[in-house]
Subunit: 164 residues, 2 copies
């Protein structure tokens, strides 16, 4: 018997998530807010934004409170610092030499770098990354919305590390 | 070297997707439109909506043109017909006795049934389903947005059936 349950108890992690979400300057704070809600649900603790990032609390919900949100002016210095801290820098983008997300095995300590909805990740950011993953697309309009693709990627990471 | 590529050639399916997306009356046509874009990108050909479903073309993009979109008054007769056609009826919801999406093995011929953002799937719909899947949640706000959860589930189905 299936019975709707609101607010099921949260799944517990055995250790904190070592996944960070890093966003290029986004065109839409709606997308950014959707990413924040999804990341928070996945147990991500920290999200790094650039540009005029501002969360819409009606969309991000509690994610706006529970996430540690940092805003930076540009990505390259942030990525340099994260590399020093041992994060693998993984872009989410359609590029040459990208890896299929279906086959990609994440390192636990990963910074997932999300590109702008229109322009993607800039060359000066792409050249700093260790890997780029992309999600297969079988139909129009050729690419997933940025927040949708991020949700799928967060799902895949969590599938690989259900306990953190 | 990673170089941004817009409009990469689409992945080809070896056979048409035997996945349908079926939506309860949704609160937000934005969510419905996001679901339509993601489904279209995944190669889904047909989406069945209920209520006052209306796609926002700025969000659904080409999905509004490439998808076969049907609107029905209520779900139960639709689900009865799909069962006769051999579809496995799989709800996406937080319920008692639901299966963890991480471990769930989809039947190829599946109708994925999405609940309303607030009220989920009603008891009279839940009792018609073969299975309910849910996605683990580790953090606030206790649940994914409906379009986000749908994207994750479409991803998982496509991961299991990359060639259709």
């Amino acid at each position: 018997m299936f019975e709707h349950q609101r607010h099921k108890p949260l799944r517990q992690l055995a250790q904190p998530r070592e996944l960070l979400v890093v966003c290029a300057p986004m065109r839409s704070n709606v997308n950014l807010s959707r990413i924040a809600r999804a990341a928070s649900c996945c147990g991500v603790e920290r999200i790094l934004c650039t540009g005029t990032a501002k969360l819409d609390r009606r969309i991000a919900r509690d994610g706006a409170d529970t996430l540690q949100i940092e805003t930076h002016r540009t990505l390259p210095p942030v990525l340099g610092e994260l590399r020093v801290q041992g994060y693998r820098l993984v872009g989410l983008e359609q590029t040459t030499d990208s890896s299929d997300l279906h086959a990609y095995r994440f390192q636990r300590k990963t910074a997932l770098v999300i590109g702008n909805e229109r322009t993607g990740l800039k060359p000066e950011v792409l050249k700093l990354l260790d890997e780029v993953v992309e999600i297969p697309v079988w139909g129009m309009p050729y690419s997933y919305n940025a927040a949708t693709a991020t949700a799928m990627t967060l799902y895949e990471y969590c599938r690989q590390y259900p306990d953190g």
